[in-house]
């Protein structure tokens, strides 16, 4: 829906108590456009609720996959590790306590509709306030230090959040949050490959990164891969890839096949659950890609533990 053509907000929207404001566009035949008002407080409360949800409730996709792997895992130790993880996730959701004590860095991906007007507050501050409330009132651990090199002082409320905003058409706001544990984040890697390295080069780099991580990132892991763009684009894509449900492949068949091949290759490593041996080292490999330079092939690998915590909501 384009703001130019929109004459009046739809009745259904009004029924849903969405608030629209008319904007008189002076100098443009005094045409009237409508934008939707969203209070900063609504953003704040949504962010808070999403971080609590992500930290207490494991996604059904991960839970189902863990159960499936537990059935077929050949290693007795590996099986017992998977059983403990499943039991852990059940306790966390039943008692509404965090799945893992490392409740992570707070990362938020926002898709902000261009017909939205944020009112009564600062947008970024609303997100940080939501994080602050979730972490201080929801019994989550505060793991952020203010300065990475010198002071390393805890900010005591897990802020600031890492915020990625994309402006999109429409009058909605989609908020996706992830609480990212550092044990697996520390095992992540990025490499600027040469175009000549091709698909084999990509495969080798991703598999090596996952396998060299061994027991450290709390396997079974989920592997997010970002390919293309620039250095930072590849990194952001690799994090986005982790938000895709386990078991859902890339829409492009060639990439879907690559995901599957890499997954099988990683699971041949024998690292297994907890790194104590077995067939289940990774639950999924998710690739996102973007056009890149004629002379470049950036590849980022973001590793996530089995405690893959994310949640989303459209406002």
């Amino acid at each position: 829906m384009s703001s130019k053509k929109m004459t009046e907000p739809r009745r259904s929207a009004i029924k849903k108590e969405l608030r629209y404001v008319a904007i008189l566009r002076i100098g443009n035949n005094s045409e009237v456009s409508y934008v939707r008002e969203i209070k900063a407080e609504v953003i704040q409360n949504t962010v808070r609720d999403l971080f609590l949800q992500a930290n207490y409730f494991i996604g059904k996709d991960v839970y189902d996959k863990l159960k499936e792997q537990c059935e077929i895992e050949e290693s007795p130790v590996g099986k017992s590790v998977l059983k403990q993880i499943i039991e852990n996730d059940e306790i966390a959701s039943k008692e509404q306590i965090p799945i893992c004590q490392d409740t992570g860095l707070a990362v938020a991906f926002i898709e902000l509709g261009q017909e939205v007007l944020i009112v009564d507050g600062d947008f970024n501050e609303a997100i940080n306030q939501g994080v602050r409330e979730a972490y201080t009132k929801g019994f989550l651990r505060k793991s952020v230090v203010s300065d990475p090199v010198f002071d390393r002082k805890n900010t005591k409320d897990n802020t600031p959040a890492i915020i990625h905003v994309k402006i999109v058409p429409g009058d909605k706001v989609k908020i996706t949050v992830t609480a990212k544990g550092i044990g697996s984040e520390n095992m992540s890697s990025l490499k600027m490959l040469k175009p000549a390295d091709g698909v084999e080069g990509v495969k080798k780099f991703v598999v090596d990164t996952a396998v060299n991580a061994g027991p450290n990132p709390c396997p079974p892991i989920i592997v997010g891969v970002g390919i293309g763009g620039t250095m930072e684009m590849a990194a952001i894509l690799s994090k986005k890839a982790l938000l895709r449900p386990v078991g859902q492949y890339n829409g492009d068949l060639r990439y879907a096949q690559l995901e599957d091949e890499i997954l099988q290759e990683i699971n041949k490593s024998g690292i297994g659950p907890g790194g104590l041996g077995g067939r289940t080292t990774a639950l999924a490999v998710n690739i996102e890609y973007f056009p890149t330079h004629i002379a470049g092939l950036p590849v980022a690998v973001n590793i996530c533990c089995h405690a893959s915590r994310h949640a989303e909501k459209v406002i």
Binding site: D89, I91, P98, R141, G270, G272, G277
Partner: protein
């Protein structure tokens, strides 16, 4: 699954020398918590020739920084953190009689050599099984370094804390031996 071995802290060198990689153990008694920041302070004290705030003889250190406890809970979720960050400090503590460490992930050669020399084991707890592990922690006190928050040294009173011997006092290491058995060439 192998038999489960119950151990009570403090432990003796003989007991610890008997444990073998892959043994499942249930630990009962007091264990201490410490992460990087607390290790750094302990080792700084040693380097200055001062005494430590805790006697490490026969003790087990758990590498953990728990989440806050909800009302009615002794402790918040409390799973292991990655151990290699403690590697630079560990040999000095083993020398003082530390008998066990609980964490996740690999250890350095220096740590394993010191474990062999002094008779100590490295236990693994399941990373990310924090809510489950917390069930075995019955009571918690802060010992020192309260300013470090979750990273302060705590005393955990545990009952049947579930762990597996990952590296024993002979240097047998499950992270090396087990994946090989399931590797497909």
């Amino acid at each position: 699954m192998e038999n489960v071995i119950r151990i009570m802290t403090p432990v003796t060198t003989e007991e610890i020398r008997k444990l073998r990689a892959k043994d499942n153990v249930l630990i009962t008694g007091v264990i201490y918590t410490a992460r990087d920041a607390a290790h750094k302070r302990l080792v700084n004290l040693l380097n200055e020739g001062k005494e430590l705030p805790i006697d490490l003889k026969g003790q087990i250190i758990y590498y953990v920084g728990p989440a806050p406890a909800k009302p009615g809970y002794a402790v918040g979720p409390a799973g292991p953190t990655t151990s290699y960050r403690m590697d630079p400090y560990t040999p000095q503590l083993l020398k003082l009689g530390l008998k066990g460490m609980i964490g996740k992930g690999t250890r350095s050669k220096e740590v394993i050599d010191a474990m062999k020399e002094h008779g100590a084991v490295y236990f693994g707890a399941v990373g990310g099984a924090a809510a489950l592990i917390a069930k075995s922690i019955k009571k918690v006190d802060v010992v020192c370094y309260e300013d470090l928050g979750a990273e302060a040294i705590h005393r955990f009173y545990v009952e049947d804390f579930p762990a597996i011997v990952v590296i024993d006092s002979q240097g047998n290491n499950l992270y090396e031996t087990e994946p090989k058995k399931y590797r497909i060439k």
